[in-house]
């Protein structure tokens, strides 16, 4: 036995990936969504380059509809890491007032997919770290650690480069870019276990607390600010809830829970019988929806 646990092996692998990108690309950036996976990825970046600061900026593709607690942690985390924080909001979406109440899937398309492309193009980034994991969803199970995007940010699953051993080919033509997923081999439980082990700060919304909620289409939504449009007869009810995944607050379902500590959250997650992404509307359309979105440039 090497004596290394699975978390030590995963951590070392991720650090190796982060360093390879910094050594081989010109303008790397880290996509920072403020979720728990982003928190772990940022923590790994601090480890990889210590005692230097991670030599790249954080990029938050904002939709203006995230939970307030996310904005709060985002600003503090970037400052604590001593990293530049770039916030991009799609000006077109902003001008059109695109929102999750009126625009359905256009909200995600314009703010996130288009917003991300704009931000990457504007910054001239040739490599962008993302926190996606292969265990999240079937099409991700086949995505490489270094995933290539055409100049139009498209993904061609059939033209992926073979990845052997821990050798990554980061060479690209001008205009092309790489999405790099240092957490590819982590599972949700690994992430939680690591957060616990390392004492990583995460958005308090992951822990149960009494919060104002409404029930809509079988989802429990949190009324995070006064932009939430209540339907006739809807009255926010205070429930003890927490979130398993975080996105735009009007689109993210909560679960009723009393789990107020990290180990209680992990306990509840392990005792639950549904998978993590069920709370997100994006995956429900059809089994191949994520693959379709990625071909179009969704992260």
């Amino acid at each position: 036995m090497t004596g290394l646990t699975h978390l030590q092996r995963l951590e070392a692998e991720s650090i190796h990936i982060l360093r390879e990108v910094v050594a081989e690309t010109e303008r790397p950036v880290m996509l920072y969504s403020v979720g728990k996976d982003s928190a772990v990825m940022l923590h790994l970046a601090k480890k990889a380059f210590f005692p230097a600061r991670p030599p790249f900026p954080l990029l938050h593709v904002d939709t203006t509809w995230k939970f307030r607690a996310m904005y709060d942690l985002r600003n503090r985390a970037a400052e604590a890491a001593g990293m530049e924080l770039i916030v991009h909001r799609n000006p077109e979406a902003e001008a059109l007032g695109i929102n999750p109440f009126d625009h359905g899937s256009r909200h995600t398309d314009m703010w996130k997919t288009e917003g991300l492309k704009q931000a990457l193009t504007a910054g001239g980034y040739d490599a962008a770290f993302g926190g996606a994991r292969r265990d999240e969803e079937k099409s991700r199970a086949k995505e490489r650690v270094f995933s290539f995007r055409s100049a139009a940010h498209g993904w061609d699953p059939k033209a992926q480069r073979p990845e052997l051993w821990n050798l990554y080919n980061s060479r690209i033509h001008k205009g092309e870019s790489i999405r790099v997923f240092p957490l590819s081999n982590w599972t949700e439980l690994d992430i939680w276990q690591y957060i616990l082990q390392e004492g990583i700060e995460i958005v308090p919304l992951y822990f149960a607390a009494p919060r104002p909620t409404v029930e809509r289409d079988g989802m429990l939504l949190m009324v995070d600010d006064d932009r939430f449009r209540l339907k006739p007869g809807e009255v926010p009810v205070e429930r003890s809830i927490r979130f398993r995944t975080l996105g735009c607050y009007p689109l993210t379902g909560a679960v009723e829970s009393e789990a107020a500590t990290l180990s209680e959250v992990i306990q509840e997650m392990l005792l639950t019988t549904t998978s993590e992404r069920q709370g997100r509307a994006i995956d429900h359309d059809q089994a191949a929806s994520m693959e379709k979105k990625k071909r179009e440039g969704y992260f």
């Binding site: 036995m1 090497t2 004596g3 290394l4 646990t5 699975h6 978390l7 030590q8 092996r9 951590e11 070392a12 650090i15 360093r19 390879e20 050594a23 601090k46 480890k47 990889a48 380059f49 210590f50 005692p51 600061r53 292969r134 265990d135 099409s139 199970a141 086949k142 699953p157 059939k158 992926q160 480069r161 073979p162 990845e163 052997l164 051993w165 821990n166 050798l167 080919n169 060479r171 590819s184 081999n185 599972t187 439980l189 690994d190 276990q193 616990l196 180990s263 209680e264 992990i266 306990q267 392990l270 005792l271 019988t273 549904t274 998978s275 069920q278 089994a287 191949a288 693959e291 379709k292």
Partner: protein, 637 residues
């Protein structure tokens, strides 16, 4: 159908459960076989039985099974695994998909790769990070061409743990004799290609028999079911930690003028503060001042850890350099023989410059026309001018500057490389270094006034190395002695290097392990080369079981000077003679790694002279060798 059932400890004592989970090890394995063998079904079954499938995934699966499944009203576990839409439509898996599951003891990462010949590259890719390979066989069909192909590839990539999963036992009535026949068949093949060990398990992915628990259907099978085996099999990490220290420098960490650290992932061995290290390729030595991590300085770090090293002195060191144990640094060379797996649609262009990435080194490199390619189905070698998609061949690789490396057998970090097409930036090949060529143009020699040609002229002969190879007791020394007597009588200047004699002196510090044997031959090769430089006709009588080392010696010498003489005596005959009583001892287990008994002998493929000792006497063979060699010489003289 029941989905995920949580462990009782989770509800009872979550912290105790988490403590257990934190101490888990990790096993990465690859599954090889085709859809027809029930591979996807087996993986789906492992995920399902290890409680990794959630209710919503199960309901999705049930819906998909009805829509596109192949199991009628039943759940099609294969659908859990086949990911991309394009693949589902075609009903085949065309890429490498990674799956994750965990049990009480381990976390598992499964690389699922397609089985067809046209996806050889995908399998090699998946196998490159695997600790273990599960080779699937359909019990009704037995060992097929694809079984041999998958086993060969797994072995090629260096996987030491092989599981032969004999699937669909339910369809052959759980018959023990069917299983035994398949295992015997496979064992014969596996030995032939050099697989040292494998574990055979009879099971059924469809019914779940012997997947997680022993099956009452097969009471005759007493070994562990598949999952318990995967949970307990030793992970090949010991070797890496036990080996000499090497860390490729990935990145130089220089936040300010006061700090200069070298960041990397330790490839092998261990390193402690104060250790003497050598920076390769420059060769400068210094010592370790600090081992820096985010969690504080460390006294020691081991293979597999990502650290930042601070050196005691300001020595030149940058990305691509390898920090290594000062006393045992890796080799540095610019020409290699490597096994290359071609992964691009466009074939290899010999002589074209590709980018070669090995560790953190990136250099330009050309590939010579292959010495041969290996038929992945029959494992036979055939000549070829180039390498096409999915071809596996042995070729010389010339780098445009020296790189730090080790043979792939010692480790993938410094032995495995990729080739990148400079025009398309695509990864076109994976390579595994066998050994370096010693005729490197960039090595600078002290020139001597009396040249090797002058030495040879003075003796009136062309130097040769007559390399006798064969099993112990095959008659190498006997024939070599007769040859030397004849040469001596004819006034030729010769010298006989005998295996036993050399081991009493020059090589008395070497054991009979593979490493010891390699070093034995390397030194003998170097000595033979010096003697040939002095103008002598050198005769060597060594078992020299490994082709790589014989080839290495051949590469040391000018073209045509190395004469390989295969003294071919069947094992039974040599053992029967047993002049030195060694076979008896080996059979009694008193000698470990005895060639022919417990260690392989790789017969020469194209020896210059082939002596069949069952057909000619030692005297006849000696006469023929002298005639052959003098016949060649007569043109020189």
């Amino acid at each position: 159908m029941t989905a995920y059932q949580p462990d009782a400890l989770i509800a009872a004592d979550i912290n105790a459960y988490l403590a257990t989970h934190a101490a888990k090890s990790m096993l990465r394995f690859i599954t090889c076989g085709s859809v027809d063998d029930g591979k996807s079904t087996l993986i789906g079954r492992l995920l399902y039985d290890s409680k990794t499938i959630f209710e919503d995934q199960l309901s999705q699966l049930e819906a998909d099974s009805r829509r596109v499944g192949t199991q009628g009203a039943n759940i099609d576990f294969a659908l859990l695994v086949d990911g991309l839409a394009a693949e589902r439509e075609q009903g085949i898996t065309i890429d490498v998909a990674y799956r994750f599951f965990a049990t009480e003891k381990r976390k598992f990462i499964v690389a699922d790769t397609p089985g067809h010949e046209q996806y050889t590259r995908n399998m090699v890719t998946g196998a490159s990070t695997a600790d273990l390979a599960v080779i699937l066989i359909d019990a009704r069909k037995g060992v097929l061409t694809q079984t041999r192909r998958h086993s060969y590839l797994a072995h090629l990539v260096g996987i030491k743990e092989i599981v032969l999963a004999v699937n669909k036992m339910d369809l052959v009535g759980n018959d023990q004799s069917v299983f035994n026949a398949i295992v015997a068949d496979y064992a014969a093949f596996a030995r032939g290609i050099g697989i040292e060990r494998f574990t055979a398990i009879p099971l059924s992915g469809l019914t779940g028999a012997n997947v997680t628990t022993p099956s009452p259907d097969m009471p005759w099978y007493e070994g562990p079911p598949l999952l318990p085996h995967l949970e307990t099999v030793a992970i090949d990490g010991d070797r890496a930690v036990a080996a000499s220290f090497r860390m490729p420098v990935q990145w130089v960490n220089r936040p300010d003028l006061d700090f200069r650290g070298f960041a990397g992932l330790i490839a092998s061995g261990r390193v402690s503060v104060g250790d003497r290290v050598r920076i390769t390729p420059s060769g400068r030595t210094t010592s370790i001042a600090r081992i820096v991590t985010y969690d504080g300085d460390r006294d020691q770090a081991i293979a597999g850890e990502a650290v930042t090293l601070v050196l005691a002195e300001e020595v030149d060191c940058s990305r691509g350099d390898v920090i290594a144990a000062a006393e045992d640094p890796p080799e540095v060379a610019d020409q290699f023989v490597a096994t290359i797996v071609w992964m691009a649609d466009a074939p290899l262009v010999p002589g074209r410059s590709y980018s070669l990435k090995l560790g953190a080194q990136l250099v330009g490199a050309t590939v010579q026309p292959p010495r041969h390619v290996v038929d992945v189905n029959s494992q036979e070698q055939r000549p070829a001018d180039t390498l096409a998609l999915n071809d596996i061949g042995l070729a010389e690789v010339y780098a445009d500057r020296p790189i730090v490396f080790e043979p792939y057998a010692k480790g993938s970090t410094l032995g495995g490389f990729i080739l990148i097409d400079r025009a398309t930036n695509a990864t076109v090949a994976a390579g595994m270094i066998d050994h370096a060529l010693r005729r490197s143009q960039n090595v600078h020699w002290q020139s001597t006034v009396i040249t090797r040609e002058a030495h040879a002229r003075q003796k009136g002969q062309s130097p040769k190395v007559l390399w006798f190879t064969g099993l112990s007791g095959s008659g190498k020394s006997t024939i070599a002695n007769l040859v030397e007597q004849k040469l001596h009588a004819m006034g030729r200047h010769s010298f006989l290097l005998d295996g036993d004699n050399i081991r009493h002196g020059l090589n008395r510090d070497l054991d009979f392990s593979e490493a010891g044997r390699v070093e034995n031959i390397r030194r003998v090769g170097e000595v033979a080369k010096l003697m040939a430089d002095a103008g002598l006709i050198v005769l060597t009588a060594f078992i020299s079981p490994f082709k790589a080392e014989r080839d290495m010696v051949r590469a040391l010498l000018p073209e045509g000077e190395f004469v390989e003489i295969f003294v071919d005596t069947p094992l039974a005959v040599a053992e029967n003679r047993d002049v030195k009583g060694l076979y008896a001892k080996a059979r009694a287990g008193e000698i470990a790694e005895f060639t022919g008994i417990s260690s392989p002998y790789e017969a020469p493929e194209r020896p210059e002279i082939h002596v069949d000792t069952t057909k000619e006497t030692a005297e006849q063979a000696a006469a023929r060798i002298v005639e052959h060699v003098l016949g060649v010489w007569s043109y020189d003289l």
